[in-house]
Each structure stands twice: as C-alpha cells, then as structure tokens.
Amino acid sequence: MNLNNKNNSFKVPESYFEHQSKQLESLAEIAEVQSTFRVPPAYFEKSEERLHNLLTKKPKSRIVRFSPYVTAIAASLILALLIRTPEQELDTDEAAERYFVEQDSPLTPVELLELNPTEDFGFTSIAFEDLAQETVFELQLAYDSNFNLIYQDYED
C-alpha cells in the first residue's frame, strides 16, 4: 500500500521539505555547540542521598535531658497554667482561624491546599467571600476539572 497516495491532493510549496530539514539542521548545530547549563560539582551524588533521606527516613524523636532544676520550673509553670485556665477543649478551627487572621502575609492557595491532609477536600468547602478574585481563580485552577489541573491526584 502506498501511503503517500493519500496525500496526493495536497500540495506544499516547492522544496518545502528540504527547507524544513535544513532549518532543523542549522538549529541543531547551534544548540549542540551551546549545551550550556551546569550543576555544582558532585551535585547529583549529593542530591541522590538527600532525596533518599527525604523520602525514606522517618524523623527521629530526640530525648532531651533537663537538669532537675529546669524540670521543677517547667512542672510548676504547667501547674500554674492548669490552675489559672478553666478546663476547656482547644478549638483547633478557631485557633487556626486566629492564626491566619494574625498573619501579615496570608498563605497562598497552594499552601492552603497542602495544609489539608484529607482526600475529600473540595473546592466548595472554602468560604470565598474573604478571598481575592485572583486567589479564587488559583483555587479553581487547582481543583476545577475544566481547567488544566495542577493539584490533581496524579493518576496515570
């Protein structure tokens, strides 16, 4: 079967393909000579170890030994706090909200998304009224399937 026959009704400018291949060749010459990005010495060896540690090593819990004197002060401070503070559960939502309000530079949407560890995090679960238009758009970029998904779960 001659596949070229399929294209017989289409024409290209004279010597189009020769011109195209020459263009690519000259570009190849330029780029080949100028392979110009470098990395610090032994970067890949060091990076390999660092990445391996980052992904596989669990953080070690450190045991700090205090002198009895320091321990006594710490214990008395805790006791004093317990006596002064009425018993109540820590409202984590309120604490988190307070934290964000107090920040001069609020977290970026990406950081907000990173903070949420649950799988069922949804675009609609965020209150938008306080967010800038750009921020809402960023979140849409991250979660709306009609956009180019950035923070999709990476399924192949």
Partner: protein, 179 residues
C-alpha cells in the same frame, strides 16, 4: 515480569518501598532535573522543584496503575510542578510569565552554572518566549530527544498537535536567531 512493573510493585509495597525509591532516584533524577532546569532556568529553583516532584511521586505512587509508563507519569508531575513554580514566582514578583522568563534568561549571563555566549543566550531567550505548550514540546523533542508517542503521554496531547507545536516552535526560534 517487565522491569517497570516490578519497580512499581516494589514502590507500592511498604516492605520494599525504600529500595524502590532508591532505584527511582538513581534512574530518573538526572533526566527529571534537566527537564525541570530548562523550564525554571535557575539551578537552585530546579533543585527545589526536583524535591517537590519526588515528594509528589512518593505521595501519589499508590494511584499509579501502570496504564502509562512510569517515566511519562513522573515527567508529567515534574512538568506541572515546574510550571506551578514559575507561575507562583512570577505572580509574587508582579510580573507576567513572559516578563519573568525574560528576567530569568537575562540573569543567565551572571549565573555561575551557565556557560554560554551571546548566541546561547539568544537561543534560551527565544525558547523562553515561546508559548508554554510549544516550549515544552520543543524541550522534550529537541533537547531530550523523546519520541512524539512519549511526549503525547506526558503532555496528554495528540501526536498531530505535538508535531504542529514543534513545527511552530522551530520556526519561531529560527526567526529569532536570524534577527
């Protein structure tokens, strides 16, 4: 069993995961780094994005079902991480993406990890000024010499579309270099 399937099984099994990641880092660290570097230009930025890429791979390996090649899947993550990175950085600096890319290229001259003459800088500037898709296709096809089938898996674009993008990219770069 195919090598990739074995590696994926190792990565998804907690008992063999550590060894799996060692292999994954050894095999893919360099190609992923160079792919990222050509998007972000700066070495330190590329280093950060490479780390983020591996963290994403680590977090999402359970979702990998083997329907695409492992390396295509990792390249896709690296591409998204790199693009997100430069978009965030340009926004923080109050620059458009083009302005940001031009600034990055102009800084290459003083970059100790870049060795190139005026033509090399001109080439980088021409690549940086391409539309995002054309730039990615150009880098993957021209520098990394991937096949269109492989690029199609990474960028989730038809082969016809990729060929058109590459053709336009080469034409624009050529025009820029001739000026």
């Amino acid at each position: 069993m195919e090598e990739q399937t074995l590696l994926v099984h190792a990565l998804q099994n907690p008992a063999t995961q550590e060894a799996g990641f060692k292999t994954l880092i050894k095999e893919y660290q360099q190609p992923l780094y160079w792919h990222i570097r050509k998007i972000v230009f700066d070495h330190e930025d590329a280093d950060d994005v490479l780390q983020n890429t591996y963290i994403k791979v680590f977090k999402n390996i359970k979702n990998f079902r083997g329907e695409s090649k492992l390396f295509s899947w990792m390249y896709r993550i690296a591409t998204n991480q790199a693009l997100t990175f430069i978009k965030q950085k340009s926004r923080k600096l109050g620059l458009s993406l083009n302005e940001y890319n031009e600034k990055q290229v102009s800084q290459l001259e003083a970059d100790v990890y870049f060795e190139g003459d005026a033509i090399a800088l001109k080439l980088q500037l021409a690549v940086a000024n391409l539309p995002e898709k054309q730039r990615l296709v150009f880098n993957l096809k021209y520098y990394e010499e991937l096949k269109y089938e492989e690029i199609s898996e990474i960028l989730e674009t038809s082969i016809g579309g990729l060929k058109a993008s590459y053709h336009h990219a080469v034409k624009k770069i050529k025009n820029e270099l001739e000026q």
